[in-house]
Each structure stands twice: as C-alpha cells, then as structure tokens.
C-alpha cells in the first residue's frame, strides 16, 4: 500500500519537476515568462497520441519525435514572438495568452474536447515488494529521472550549457564575451519546450489527454517555482517532490478541492514570508 503511494508521489513529482524545469530554464536564460508552456505540455501529449496511435510508429520513436517537434515549436515561439516582447511584460503575457487560445482552440476543434486515452507505454505489471504497479508508471519515473540527470549534466558540463548559465547571470556580460545570446535563448526555449512536451507525453500515457490539461500544469509550475525560488534551478527538485507528495497523498484523505485550497494557502503564505522561495537568492 505504501509502495503504491510512494510510486504515485514519485511519478507525479517527476512530471512536475520536468515541466517546471523547462519553464524555469526559459525564464532564467531567455528571460521569457512563457505562458504557453502549458499548451506545449499538452501538445506533447497529443503528439504522442498522433505519432504512436494514429501513425503507428514505435513508441520510442514517437517520444523522440515529440521532443523534436515541441522543441522546434519552442524555438519558433521565441524567435517569432517572445523576442519582440522582451521589453514589455504586458506584451509577453498577451502573446502567451494568444498562443494558448490558438493552440487550445485548434486542438479542441480538431481532436474534440473529450478526454482521450493512450494505451500504456509499457504493457504489463511489475511487482515490487508487495505491490504490483503498472510498468508504465515505473517507466515514466525512470525516463523522467534520466531526463533530469541528462539536463543537469548538459547544463554543467557542455559549452552550450555554460553559455546558457552565463546568459542567465548577465545578459550583456555574456554578449561582451562573444556569446550569441539570440542563439542561446532560442535553444534554451527549445530545451524548455522539449521538456514540457515529453512530460506531457509521459503524463498522457499514465493518465488521459484533454485540450486543457496544460492550464493546471502551468499553475503547478508557478507554485513550484514560488516554493523553490525564482533563480534557483536545483530547488525545483525538492519543491516538486513536496508538491507532488501533497497532490498525490492529500486528496485521498481530505478530498481534492480542500487539498488544492491548502496547497494554495501554503504557497501564498510562503510567498509572503519569503518571496524569494526556499532556495532563491534575491532577498
């Protein structure tokens, strides 16, 4: 029984962390508050449905395609829209909102608003200790963990990753060092979007798809970033675990609505007392 809860926590947390990481990367490196992050997540889910169920491709190939396509979408959004809005917060919000409307309506119109189910990625059931869990959930957790590790390694050890860190610390300074900030920003957006896309695909295979699943996830990303702190990427891991635990365990005891309300109260109070989050740097 406990194993079931633990696994649910791990699966949900890992999805939250991946999505939030993508959002935070976009925000820190490219300086973009990407409201469209939620719909990219949703597109990832529908992309998996399309490539795997509709086109009949191998699920692994479908996942790779999802990452690629969502990455390209992120890159395009940054280039076409967000880059022009860097000087104005309001325009950034409006643009993100417009993208949300267009994508959600597009999916709503073409795919219908009813929830769609994807067959499980990995068939069968795995037995751990005394619990039997879907192999898919284990797979989701493993893939997420690998993604997280890969992203960390990438940002710390590769030249591009270092460039991204530099741009996030000091944009003009990075420019002076000869870093092409447009290229780096675009790639950071692509990375963020790709992470969102694959999270959507993974979540879609565990749960179901609907055109509006991105909205809730965007809110979770905001909450996790608030807990972790705006500038902190490593804080996202514990914050994601905390929120994932709350959201997995609490609803079974006190009902979904109350636990959402409690989650909000917690984040709100945290914001008031320590707006830079637990791990953030700015006082």
């Amino acid at each position: 029984m406990v194993e079931q809860y633990l696994l649910n926590v791990l699966v949900l947390s890992s999805i939250y962390i991946i999505v939030t990481l993508g959002f935070a990367l976009t925000f820190s490196i490219a300086g973009i508050l990407n409201l469209a992050h939620g719909v990219i997540y949703m597109l990832g889910g529908y992309g998996l449905y399309y490539f795997w169920v509709k086109l009949g491709l191998n699920p692994g190939v479908a996942l790779l395609l999802v990452v690629l396509v969502t990455g390209i979408i992120g890159l395009t959004l940054e280039k076409v829209g967000f880059r022009r809005c860097l000087d104005s917060f309001e325009r950034m919000i409006l643009f993100g909102l417009a993208v949300i409307l267009i994508v959600e309506t597009g999916i709503n119109v073409t795919m219908g608003a009813t929830a769609k189910a994807i067959p499980p990625l990995l068939p069968g059931v795995v037995h751990i200790w005394s619990a039997s869990v879907d192999a898919t959930r284990i797979g989701v957790f493993v893939i997420s963990g690998l993604l997280l590790a890969a992203t960390t390694v990438f940002v710390r050890n590769t030249k591009l990753g270092q460039e991204m860190l530099a741009v996030s610390e000091d944009r003009e300074g990075a420019l002076l060092q000869g870093i092409d900030i447009n290229r780096v920003s675009g790639l950071a957006c692509a990375l963020g979007a790709g992470l969102a896309g694959i999270a959507g695909a993974l979540m879609g295979s565990v749960m179901s798809l609907d055109p509006f699943m991105g909205d809730g996830m965007l809110m979770k990303a905001f909450e996790i970033i608030t807990i972790a702190g705006i500038g902190s990427l490593e804080g996202i891991l514990p914050a994601g675990l905390v929120l994932g635990s709350i959201d997995s365990i609490l609803p079974t005891f006190i009902g979904g609505n109350v636990s959402s309300a409690l989650g909000f109260c917690f984040v709100f109070v945290l914001l008031l007392m320590r707006p830079q989050g637990i791990f953030g740097r700015k006082a």
Partner: protein
C-alpha cells in the same frame, strides 16, 4: 503630437468618449427593439471591472487575480441576499464593500513584496479563491454554485412608490447602465484627482516617488482597495443579474481575461479598457456563427495589439500615426519592476 489642426480638433472632442457614447446609444436602440441584452450587460459590467483593474495598474501594480474579487463580491452579495433575505439593492454595494475589505487585507500583505512577486501573489490569490469556493460547498455551493439568487428588481418604499426593475429587459439594462456609468464617473474623478496623480507618479517610478516623500505602499494599497471595491460591485451585480453563480468564471482565466481587456484596449488611457472589453467580448457575439473558431479571432486581436498596436486600441486615438512605431516608454519602466531583473540568476 502632430501639428495638424484636424487632429488637434478631434482630440479636443475627446473622440473616444464620443464613440463610446454612440455605441451605448446604439445598444439602447437595439435592446428597445427586442435584442437580447445579455451580452451588452455583460460587457458593461466587465468594463467597470476592467477599468478598476486599470486603476490598480496606474500605480504600477499588475494584478493577475482580479477575478477573485469579483467572486468575493458576487458570493458575498448573493449569500447576504439569500441567507439573510436583505434586498439585493443593499447587498450589492455591501458585496463591493466586502470585496474592498478583502482587497485591503490582501493588498496590505502583498504590497510589502516587490512588483513581480506581487503579481505572482495576486495570481495565487485568484487561484486560491476559486479553490476555496470549491472546497466549501456548505457555504458556497461548491463548484455547482448557487442558484436562485434574487434579482435587482423591486424597490419599494411602502406607501410612497414601487418600481420593479426586473420587469423588462430595457429596465434591467438601465439599471446596469446606471451602475456602470456611475462607477466609471467615480473612477474617472478619482483618477484625475490628487490621488490619481500620486498613483501615476508611483507608476512611473516608485523609487523617485519614495524620494519625494510619497508613501508608496499606502497609495498602492488604496488603489488596490478601490479597484477591489468596484470589481466586487461588478461581481455582485452580475450575480444578481444572472441569478446563478458558480466559481468557474472567476479563476485564473477570468483574471487573465480582465487583464487582456485592459491591455488590448490600451492601458495608457482611461477609455482604453472600455474598448478592450467591448472588442474582446463582442467578437464572440458578432461572429457567433463560427462557434468554436471564435477564440482564434480573439487571439488574433491580441496578436494585433502585441505586434502592431503596442498601446492598444486606445493608442490609435492618441497620436495617430506614431502609435504604430511601437514606442513603449511607460511599459519599459514597468517591465523592469515587474520582471525582477535581479532575480534571474541561475544556480546549478
């Protein structure tokens, strides 16, 4: 400004106000001839909400949770009317007052933190109110909501007179029009008073305002409270008009919709939100035959504002040709405050 006599003359006529008046007159004619006034009333009330959001925006704060105050006002008024049996005419302003008090409390705690976190805080407030309403079904009817809310109908002073405003669509429209115009007049007067000037000063640069001795936090809380009152009043009137109330319209998307009305219409002028609301709410009506494709048009209007009309639709009236060049000096200051430039370090 263009040294053009024609343009100067037009400006002096306060062209946007003239247009707004004409639109209202047309609406009146339409309703008189049997057109369903629901959307028009909705637009009018949302105009008030959008203008009150702009009032808050003047002092440099971007509130992403304004729909929460509509919910507070609406639910407060509805519950007072239903549980205590008071007349809706009394409950609606009380609803606004309760919303104002909650805005006061929220503003008091939120203005302590910098603008970007303030916006996040209002976002969570918006979400939180929706969650809390859904989580307390005994009081608020949960996510099913309340039904059978009394209308803003009869006023009767026994022995003197009795009018029932709920009698016909045109009389209901008049009530809502009255509330709208009264609210807008009050907001306009406040904005063009000393307080309004102080707000503008704070909005342009909080640091400079502080250095001149203005109590920035105090004035911001005042702005937030006043904005909260009118938004709450809107929510209350809407609740009585609809006779039903549910939390679904008051969540994150509701707040962001309000912000969109302000931004599309132009946050730089008082009449901007009026245009924004009308445009964004009227598009679904005018093009209702297109059904699910309507959000595309709304998104198109937003994109138009983002790329072509940075000062919103109202910017078209200010300096006719130069609005297209995208000068956004006011937004520049707000961006630096709202985005928390220093907070974007990455540590890994």
């Amino acid at each position: 400004m263009r040294g053009n006599i024609f343009m100067k003359g037009i400006k002096r006529l306060h062209l946007p106000y003239v247009i707004a008046a004409i639109v209202l007159f047309l609406a009146f004619l339409l309703i008189e001839n049997g057109y369903n006034p629901y959307v028009i009333n909705l637009i009018l009330l949302n105009i008030v909400a959008a203008c009150s959001l702009r009032t808050i925006y003047l002092s440099g704060q971007i509130s992403l949770g304004q729909a929460a105050f509509m919910a507070v006002g609406g639910y407060a008024s509805a519950l007072l009317a239903m549980r205590l049996g008071w007349s809706p005419w009394v409950c609606a302003p009380l609803g606004g007052l309760i919303a104002a008090i909650s805005a006061l409390l929220a503003g008091y705690v939120l203005t302590r933190i910098t603008s970007f976190y303030f916006s996040m805080g209002t976002l969570f407030l918006g979400l939180g109110v929706e969650y809390i309403i859904e989580a307390t079904p005994q009081l608020t009817g949960g996510y099913i909501g309340l039904t059978g809310i009394p209308q803003l109908g009869p006023i009767s002073i026994p022995g003197i007179f009795h009018i029932d405003f709920a009698g016909s669509p045109i009389s209901q429209f008049c009530v809502i029009l009255f509330v709208t115009i009264l609210s807008l007049l009050i907001l306009y007067r406040i904005e063009h008073s000393r307080i309004g000037l102080t707000w503008r000063a704070i909005g342009q640069s909080a640091e400079v305002a502080l250095s001149v001795g203005i109590n920035v936090a105090y004035y911001r809380v005042v702005a937030f409270t006043i904005g909260g009152f009118f938004t709450g009043l809107t929510g209350a009137v809407l609740a009585h008009y609809n006779a039903v109330l549910s939390p679904s319209g008051f969540g994150m998307m509701g707040s962001i919709d309000l912000l969109a009305y302000v931004l599309v219409g132009g946050a730089g002028s008082f009449v901007g939100p009026v245009f924004g609301t009308i445009i964004l709410l009227a598009i679904p009506q005018v093009f209702s035959s297109l059904q699910e494709f309507v959000p595309f048009l709304v998104a198109g209007a937003m994109l138009l504002v983002v790329f072509v009309l940075p000062r919103g639709v109202a910017g078209l009236f200010a300096n006719f040709p130069s609005c297209l060049t995208g000068k956004t000096q006011n937004s520049q200051a707000l961006y630096y405050k709202a985005s928390g430039e220093e907070g974007r370090d990455v540590s890994l």
